[in-house]
């Protein structure tokens, strides 16, 4: 209820009208911004996908042409594959690292604040700016190939290797993101009643048993939450790809997000790029619905 005056006794019509006017006035600036810069572009994006559009030449309706082209475009299927591989490689590792680190810095000990602060530092770092050093780290003379070389494993640049390049991008994304997810997990861990674990300990449960039967079930909702946002995020991966590989070598890191950028702002094919965006959107919707379903079942 908006106000006590209105709730306590039947508000007069004038008072309600006044309240509505005030409410509308306060929300109006944001509403206008949303109409212009969120809803209109959203509808526009749906529309553009069904035609050909150039900034000078205007819009020509083409029906399903763009989607037909998409279906026969090997590059689209390739970028879809790259994006899915990237997601499958990066998201589980990311969530696992985040949960692992959260468990390690969960308790209070000397220096715990340092570790928490250090793990969060990459989160506030632009991956574009950090990309400069990561190009070096994964280059033939860089830290990772040299380190692996010194123990007799693979040598040579990761960024020019068509298998390792995507792994490098995933590694950078995990580096830049796990601190954020770790905080989410930590927040959830703090909410688990301490008595639960204390009782289990009295009953003689070891660390692993406590984790398996108390902590893990309590974390389930967080797993799904992180899964959803990280999968959606990974479908749109762009910054690290742009700066580190430019989609190469030989399109090995050519993701959907990168293809969309390429089509729109290199070839200025706004209609076709919008069709790619729509495919991306559909993919995100399906994945979040599936995850939603699993989440609902899991919480029963």
């Amino acid at each position: 209820m908006a106000s006590l005056l209105a709730a306590g006794r039947p508000a007069s019509r004038r008072l309600r009208r006044r309240e509505a006017l005030v409410g509308a006035a306060f929300v109006l600036p944001m509403l206008v911004l949303f109409l212009l810069f969120r809803f209109a572009p959203f509808l526009g994006g749906l529309g553009l996908a069904f035609g050909k559009y150039t900034l000078g030449g205007g819009f020509r309706w083409k029906g399903l042409d763009n989607f037909e082209r998409l279906a026969h475009d090997g590059l689209f299927w390739h970028s879809l594959k790259v994006t899915l591989i990237y997601t499958v490689v990066s998201v589980p590792v990311l969530v696992a690292v985040a949960v692992g680190m959260a468990l390690l810095v969960r308790r209070s000990f000397r220096g715990v604040r340092f570790f928490r602060a250090a793990f969060f530092l990459p989160v506030i770092t632009s991956l574009v700016l950090a990309g400069v050093v990561f190009i070096w780290i994964f280059s033939a003379d860089g830290a990772v190939p040299r380190l692996l070389g010194s123990i007799g494993l693979s040598e040579g640049s990761w960024l020019t290797n068509d298998v390792l390049a995507i792994v490098a991008i995933a590694a950078v994304a995990i580096w830049g993101r796990f601190g954020f997810d770790m905080l989410i997990v930590l927040a959830r861990l703090q909410d688990i009643p301490r008595e639960l674990e204390e009782a289990a300990m009295m009953d003689g449960a070891g660390a692993w048993q406590r984790f398996r039967h108390i902590t893990l079930p309590q974390l389930r909702p967080v797993f799904f939450f992180l899964g959803v946002i990280e999968v959606i995020g990974s479908f749109q991966v762009f910054d690290a790809v742009y700066i580190m590989t430019g989609g190469g070598p030989v399109k090995a890191t050519y993701t959907l997000g990168y293809m969309l950028y390429d089509q729109a702002f290199k070839f200025f094919d706004f209609g076709y790029a919008s069709a790619v965006a729509l495919a991306l959107f559909a993919l995100v919707l399906v994945i979040s619905l599936v995850q939603r379903l699993i989440l609902d079942r899991g919480s029963d």
Binding site: A2, S3, L4, L5, A6, E19, A20, G23, A25, F26, V27, M30, F34, L36, F37, R38, A40, P41, G44, G45, L48, L104, V105, R107, S108, F115, A117, A118, F119, F120, L121, T125, V128, L129, A130, V132, V133, W136, I137, A143, W175, G179, F180, L183, I184, A187, R194, M201, A207, R210, Q236, Y242, Y261, S274, A277, L280, F281, V284, L285, S288
Partner: protein, 302 residues
Amino acid sequence: MSTLTQTDLGPTTPADQPAAAPPGRTGRSPFAPQGVGRVLTGILLTVGALATLFPFYAMVVLSLKPNGGLFFPGSLVPNDLTLDNYARVLQGNQVIRWALNTLLYSGISVVFVLLLSSMAGYAFAKKRFPGKNVIFWSFLGMLMVPYHITLIPLFVIVAKADGVNTYWGLIVPTLANAQATFLMRQFIRGIPDELLDAARVDGASEFRIFAQIVLPLCKPILATLGLFVFLWHWNDFLWPLVVAQSPEMQMLTTGIAGLMQDKVPMSVAMAGSVVALAPIFVAYLFAQRHFTEGATMSGLKG
């Protein structure tokens, strides 16, 4: 009003749930790992911290190395250091111009996002008006729409309005922030109606109630949210890349990305990155709690 403290606002406000270091749990835990577990924990944490911090160390050391080439055969031991790379990247004031652009982009956006989202949040939390729920849920629904699908039409709209390479074209479209509106609404819902009604009985205007009661009570969330909006804009890449292309309109991120494509020596680009990252790191050093709170909030409530 001045006696109303943060805790009076009820348990639903996000700022009441500090994420990283809750009070009362600082004592030695009965299940703190012991023996082998403790050693293992120490090793894992050290490896984690090394992996996390090494890139920063490498970036700083390499930016201080005398080097003209694209790659570094040299070592990471900090000897024969020089400031040449910094002199080179700062020369011509290009980076300073980019820093000013980034500061404008971030600063102006913060002010307006905070103002407009708290206004809208107030209306959603405390007022009844026709269409309120539809509008609110459509705002939230936009969070589900990938940024990429609106990017192209957004660019077309801005381009049609001659907004490419202008500050307003860059800033105005980023102000429609659903997440900020949602967070402000959640927080303002925790402000007791009695307080606002009392002011109303005293004859305060709606604007005064908002400016002198609601906003001051929102200080903690405004600080945290503001910091996060600032950070988001400071690191933003794709939108500036598309809208602010001319050299004098670029941000630090797009400018330095451009430097690398110009094939300047990597050590020079790294010096640029260090310059661009430094302000954020200094802010983090002083306001760490707000950064982590902002992350938890946006994660849990968004």
